[in-house]
């Protein structure tokens, strides 16, 4: 019974059965799985503006999350020159895919949270940690200088060390209130090993034992926010002409 013909037939039947089974299951679960992923990503963006929301992102229901995106969130996609691209929403941009493209071809997602007459701009950044990719969402106040909040995530940083950028809320909370411009020059936010001075507007404390991840965060912020600079300076100029818009 163990001749080649039997082995081949067995493998063929087995593979076909398994393929049909798994395809069926995937199709049956796809709609809700995709919705779950979508809401997971939306929550990640909202956690950057946690201080602006009435309720902790964690305790919001899925419908509430969708509602905020429907009512208060404008989604733009920018090219590297700062032009707004038509017919595409920020959510359709996959930062992991964009990062593989040459720099000049990348598209940037920009979320604008509009509530109480104030705009909060949420920028997406992505870079390298120690083991794998790290990414985050940075929220800027309407002055386009002060950071309103930040949230980070990672693919494979060490739990207890590099993974603290996500797990330890104290790390991301440090960013609130820091400024990305010094005398109208872009300086970003540095992550300082051994601790940043309390009065330093442009730096936060690093994490002991996670120097490479912290350096990765600083590098990601510098490069990632700089990508948005053409658009941000356009915005700043237009708001100077029309101060009423502030």
């Amino acid at each position: 019974m163990n001749n080649n013909r039997y082995v081949l037939t067995f493998i063929l039947i087995m593979t076909a059965t398994v393929a049909v089974l798994l395809t069926g299951l995937r199709e049956a679960t796809k709609a809700r799985a995709d919705r779950n992923e979508d809401i997971f990503n939306k929550r990640a963006i909202l956690s950057a503006i946690a201080t602006k929301l009435d309720e902790p992102v964690k305790s919001m229901t899925d419908d509430q999350v969708v509602q905020i995106f429907q009512d208060d969130m404008e989604q733009l996609v920018l090219d590297m020159e700062g032009n707004v691209l038509e017919d595409i929403a920020a959510e359709e941009i996959d930062m992991a895919v964009e990062r593989k493209k040459p720099e000049s071809n990348r598209k940037l997602p920009l979320y604008i949270y509009k509530a109480n007459g104030n705009n909060t701009y949420i920028l997406s950044v992505r870079g390298n940690g120690l083991w794998d990719e790290i990414w985050g969402n940075i929220a800027l106040e309407s002055d386009l200088n002060t950071i309103a909040g930040a949230a980070f995530d990672h693919k494979g940083e060490t739990p207890g060390l590099g993974a603290e950028i996500k797990d330890n809320p104290k790390f991301s909370q440090q960013f609130s209130g820091k400024k990305i411009y010094a005398n109208s020059e872009f300086v970003s936010i540095d992550v300082v090993k051994g601790g940043a001075k309390a009065d330093n507007q442009h730096a936060v404390d690093g994490i002991s034992g996670a120097t490479v991840t912290a350096d990765g965060v600083a590098e990601m912020l510098y490069r990632g926010i700089k990508y948005y600079e053409p658009y941000l300076s356009q915005l700043q100029q237009s708001s100077m002409v029309l101060p009423a818009e502030q």
Binding site: L22, E37, K155, G160
Partner: protein, 238 residues
């Protein structure tokens, strides 16, 4: 003559929960535990045990995979060509793992994200394939199923025990990320033991070592030590 035939028939029939069956279930929990005695599946035991809730999900996933891969392998054992039996076992395991992955995406996406690669890595967990090759290929479906179930549970129990210790002392919480999250030891007023105002525990602060994978190795080491000190037949005589 008639009597012996009846007796033989009775012998042939395996009881659902005879002595042998109970042993198949209980052996992996103690005397032949996959983690503390066979030292298999250590990779995921070190990696996913920093929080209880993901560990629990991981444990359930592994129990599902070990039990049903054993069942299906055993059902097919007389048809599987010997030359490709490992590949066939692997396909069975991989199918079940994919089922787990799709189900988790459907039911609880955040936990799926948290466990990330470790769900996929169940495929390479030595416990699963080890039991298929050593037991299911040579035993009947029901017994194989119990053997798989027992080994999965034996792995899962250790996983959850390690996770409970690590989460309490590392993060000061229990079941974080689940619907019944408990805040146990910490600085804020919401915590069960408030280390800033509680005079008895004010000396304690969360131990970051417990969050690191190395802590799981120490804890499993201590568990093996404790187990061998009361179960002396496990101690190697050399």
């Amino acid at each position: 003559m008639a009597e012996t035939i009846v007796k033989e028939q009775v012998k042939d029939k395996e009881p659902l929960f005879g002595k042998k069956e109970r042993q198949l279930l209980s052996d992996p929990l103690n005397d032949n535990n996959p983690i503390t005695v066979q030292v298999l599946g250590i990779c995921s035991a070190l990696a996913v045990t920093s929080l209880v809730y993901p560990s629990l999900v991981m444990a359930v996933a592994v129990v599902f995979v070990t039990a049903f891969s054993a069942l299906f392998t055993s059902l097919l054992r007389n048809y599987i060509p010997k030359q490709v039996r490992l590949i066939v076992q692997l396909v069975i395991i991989a199918t079940l793992v994919t089922v787990v992955e799709l189900t988790l995406k459907y039911l609880n996406y955040p936990v799926y994200k948290q466990l990330s690669v470790y769900i996929g890595l169940i495929i390479t967990n030595c416990i699963v394939m080890g039991r298929l090759e050593a037991f299911s290929m040579a035993n009947k479906p029901w017994r194989s199923f119990l053997d798989g179930l027992g080994n999965g549970v034996g792995y899962g129990v250790i996983l959850v025990m390690v996770a409970i210790i690590r989460e309490i002392f590392g993060k000061g919480t229990l079941f974080a990320g689940s619907p019944i999250e408990l805040a146990l030891i910490g600085p804020s007023a919401d915590y069960f033991i408030n280390t800033t105002t509680n005079t008895w525990f004010s000396w304690y602060s969360n131990n970051n070592l417990m969050v690191l994978p190395a802590a799981a190795m120490f804890i499993i080491g201590v568990m093996i030590w404790i187990q061998r000190s009361y179960n002396t037949k496990l101690v190697d005589v050399s």
